[in-house]
């Protein structure tokens, strides 16, 4: 087991980083959706008033 771990530690670390990035993205997208930002990428300031989202 330890041998396998030591042989693959690089892959495990990189995989963890990728998984963390994906989790952060999913979390940020869910938060944006909750805040009503999902439909337009959340850039209310650039949406020129056509967007109904309240200014935060």
């Amino acid at each position: 087991m330890l041998t396998w771990l030591s042989q693959n530690i690089g892959t495990i670390i990189v995989l963890l980083v990728v998984v963390l990035i994906v989790a952060a993205i999913v979390k940020s997208m869910r938060r944006d959706k909750k805040n009503g930002k999902s439909s337009c990428g959340g850039n209310c300031a650039a949406c020129r008033g056509g967007c109904m989202h309240a200014q935060k």
Binding site: G41, G42, N43, A45, A46, G50, C51
Partner: protein, 830 residues
């Protein structure tokens, strides 16, 4: 105590610019009316207890438009502590009409005369003290754009909120005042004294919404009606017109006292420019030239240089810092490349496979000295006067040139080739070389001994996909600078006006063009902006057609097709924009002639703002906000999509076993299976390969995804993404692919916006169906007729295309029956 200050004023008088300056906000500012539909709030800088509300631009407090309803409801129901009324100093008469109504609300008003810099520049004079006395409130001079006087205006509004009351100075004619006094006594005496006058005047105007809000009894209404009718009889006009006329008479008297114009009747610079750019004949050609230049510069020239650096440098092999060593490397690389071409020509002509194997640098058994020796032997075996034909392909333009080499040239070429050790010169050996991101990441992954599958996911999936999208950021930023400039200087507002003239001929309204203008940035706010169109049929039609205009997200795709399939031809990107406009106009004409959308076009009243030089900060802010939105999307939704696309591309079933695939096996992947299942649908459009089919589907997540997906799918194997794409498409099928993806259903976010704005599932599906159907037919005709030029035409396809074109022309030119019916109705009413 918290103080609420409302910013109110006519459309395009500078409210949002002032709001941004007062609150430090970043709200979008456009030089056309109707930018703000919703009210927006922000805290006044250095005053945490003062909230500024930016209201939509309105001409009056009558509830005729959505903006007027939003603004009026806020003022009546929320009752801010003060109103900061911004008026355009260059157009006092029209702006003061709203002011005369605001001062009647019983809320302290401070008038800020904006654009004083322009007024002074024109040599005009406004006596603000006299204006203040005539209106019964404080008047301050400001220039929101230059930031002068804005703090004083805010302080004056805070002071007014705490200390003063605004008492209207204007009295209507005797008979009207008599009626108003009666109304106050009968209907609104229970309201606070300062509010009674506003409500009484509105009741006199028979404002149904106010009457409903006050809940007047039938008896009271009858009683009041007698007074109103008496006034109408005496003044021989309807009540609303009486109030309007008397307000304008009052405004005229104020202007006489307070305003001195230097050039009465002379043409302003804006008028002179408008004489050319809105000219009946020249307007459209000028617009076409302007947009051609915008897209040409953004996509083909300046943008391409930057995007090449991003694609080939940052997300490619790397780049020479500040170009140091780039020239020297290009020389040696060119020399080596020429020699390689000559050798390739003879090796192919002579069928010398053993030599080809010996010089294959990617072979595991490659040995430089063995390669040199094989080449020397081969060159010696070819006589000096022997010849070999070769076709040179220009990487940039894809232009082909046939050349013939001689045996003597081969000997020189071999000498050159072997002098480089039979290997392509390494750019890192020349000047200051900065490796590209993929190279850096690959070295890092190799250093930690990362597994091949994870390396593949990161390099061939995430970096290739996201990199392909981000590589286009420079082009997008250049385009956004141009669009921001055209919007801010006032030109785009003219285009809405010019388009209205054309649209109206076909029963459409210029109002539909505003959402289209907004849609050039992003389709979602474009679709949402359609809610300002009161006519439901026109609104639905606008929602259905707005996304035909290429949004920012489609630009990378357009640029990719132009670069990969058309060798960077300058006409491709502008043609995509005009294809969108033509699709909108033609769809509008065709749909308007159907029962579902028939009806007179909604009136389109739009004030053309004066031209002005936009501030650099405003243009850069607009550019950055749109660009940042794009970058953020690449780092979130696009990144997730690339992981899914990579996984489904590099995993699949081979010989009954599910496993990771090599590059040669991706035709067995999950994505290929899905793509092959649907590719037949697109075969009549000329691109029935699974890669293009799945790219179109992933484009529904976000349009940038098409580029990301193509970057992954065409990234493997020999050659670059562009060269691999060029080998899969002809110019005709490439343009059909472009046309389909530009016109078909937009991304899910925009489809969601369509669903919300339609508020009806049937209409939403109809809109998506129409867009996909229209896109399919356009791409079909392009491919079938274009194939005639390529000599690959199909008789059945040509016949169907001709039938479609005839049907299309019939739908365009058939008489508009409903219009006649409606005009007849109008005549009957008269």
């Amino acid at each position: 105590m918290k103080i609420k200050i409302a910013l109110a004023g006519n459309p395009n008088c500078g409210k949002t610019t002032l709001f941004n300056a007062l609150t430090g906000s970043n709200q979008f500012v456009g030089n056309w009316p109707g930018v703000t539909v919703e009210k927006k709030e922000g805290k006044l800088k250095k005053h945490d207890d003062v909230v500024i509300t930016d209201l939509p631009g309105i001409y009056s407090l009558s509830p005729y438009t959505l903006e007027e309803v939003v603004a009026r409801n806020y003022l009546i129901q929320e009752r801010p502590e003060a109103i900061l009324n911004i008026i355009d100093g260059t157009n006092l008469e029209r702006n003061l009409y709203l002011t005369t109504q605001l001062v009647e609300l019983g809320i302290p008003v401070v008038v800020a005369v904006n654009m004083m810099d322009v007024v002074n520049k024109n040599g005009d004079k406004i006596d603000t003290n006299a204006l203040g006395k005539a209106l019964g409130c404080k008047v301050v001079e400001i220039s929101a754009l230059k930031g002068t006087g804005i703090e004083e205006a805010a302080e004056a509004a805070i002071h007014a909120a705490q200390n003063t009351k605004t008492i209207p100075q204007h009295s209507f004619s005797g008979v009207v005042e008599h009626a108003i006094a009666h109304i106050e006594e009968v209907a609104v005496h229970t309201l606070p004294e300062e509010q009674q006058r506003f409500f009484a005047i509105k009741i006199f105007e028979r404002d149904e919404k106010i009457i409903e809000q006050l809940g007047l009894t039938q008896d009271n209404r009858k009683h009041i009606e007698t007074d109103i009718e008496a006034a109408e009889k005496e003044l021989d006009d309807d009540a609303e017109s009486i109030i309007t006329n008397e307000r304008y008479v009052y405004i005229a008297s104020i202007i006489k006292q307070c305003y001195k114009k230097k050039n009465n009747g002379g043409l302003t610079v804006s008028d002179k420019i408008d004489k050319v750019v809105t000219n009946r004949i020249l307007a459209l050609p000028i617009f076409a030239v302007v947009m051609f230049i915008v897209y040409y510069i953004s996509v083909t020239t300046v943008g391409t240089v930057a995007t090449d650096w991003a694609n080939d440098g940052v997300f490619g092999d790397g780049w020479h810092l500040f170009g140091i060593g780039a020239g020297e490397y290009e020389d040696v690389s060119g020399e080596f490349g020429d020699a390689a071409n000559v050798i390739d020509a003879f090796v192919t002509a002579e069928g010398a496979d053993d030599v080809a194997d010996a010089i294959d640098t990617e072979s595991d058994t490659f040995d430089a000295s063995a390669a040199a020796s094989a080449l020397d032997t081969f060159a010696a075996s070819v006589s000096d006067d022997a010849t070999a034909d070769y076709t040179l392909v220009d990487e940039e333009t894809l232009a082909e040139e046939d050349v013939t080499y001689t045996g003597a040239e081969l000997k020189e070429a071999v000498a050159t080739y072997t002098s480089y050790g039979c290997e392509e010169p390494d750019p890192a050996d020349y000047g200051v070389w900065v490796p590209g991101l993929p190279g850096i990441i690959e070295s890092g992954l190799d250093a930690v001994n990362c597994a091949d599958w994870l390396k593949g996911l990161i390099l061939d999936g995430i970096v290739a996909g996201v990199g392909a999208v981000l590589g286009f950021v420079p082009q997008m930023l250049v385009l956004f600078i141009f669009l921001a400039f055209l919007e801010s200087c006032g030109y785009m507002a003219r285009i809405a006006f010019v388009m209205d003239r054309i649209f109206r001929k076909f029963g459409l309204s210029g109002k539909s063009f505003i959402p289209i203008l907004i849609g050039t940035g992003c389709g979602v706010p474009g679709i949402m902006a359609s809610r300002t169109i009161e006519n439901e049929r026109d609104r639905r039609m606008t929602i259905m057609t707005t996304t035909f205009i290429p949004c920012g997200a489609k630009l990378p795709f357009i640029a990719m097709i132009a670069g990969a399939i058309f060798g960077g031809a300058p006409w491709v990107a502008p043609s995509a924009y005009f294809l969108g406009i033509v699709a909108i106009i033609c769809s509008g004409i065709i749909l308007k002639k159907t029962k579902m959308f028939a009806g007179d076009p909604a009136p389109f009243v739009m004030e053309l703002p004066a031209y002005h030089w936009p501030t650099v900060s405003n243009v850069l802010r607009s550019m950055w906000e749109r660009g940042w939105s794009f970058i953020k999307k690449a780092g979130t939704i696009i990144l997730l999509s690339t992981i899914i696309v990579w996984f489904t591309t590099y995993f699949g079933v081979v010989d009954g076993a599910f496993r990771m695939l090599t590059e040669d096996e991706i035709s067995n992947s999950i994505l290929a299976t899905i793509g092959n299942a649907i590719a037949w649908i697109f075969a009549p459009l000329g691109w029935g390969n699974w890669q293009a089919a799945v790219a179109s589907i992933t484009g529904l997540v976000a349009k940038e995804n098409i580029v990301g997906t193509l970057g992954i799918l065409y990234g493997g194997g020999d050659g670059t993404v562009y060269s691999n794409m060029a080998s899969h498409f002809t110019v005709v099928s490439g343009y059909a692919f472009l046309a389909f993806n530009l016109l078909c259903a937009p991304c899910f976010a925009a489809i969601g916006a369509i669903k919300r704005e339609m508020n009806n599932a049937k209409w939403t599906w109809f809109a998506i169906g129409y867009q996909c159907g229209f896109a399919y037919l356009v791409a079909f005709v392009i491919n079938q007729l274009g194939s005639i030029a390529l000599g690959t035409a199909n008789v059945f396809g040509i016949i169907v295309s001709i039938v479609l074109i005839v049907l299309f022309i019939f739908l365009l030119v058939r008489p508009y029956k409903e219009s006649t019916t409606l005009s007849n109705r109008a005549v009957k009413v008269k």
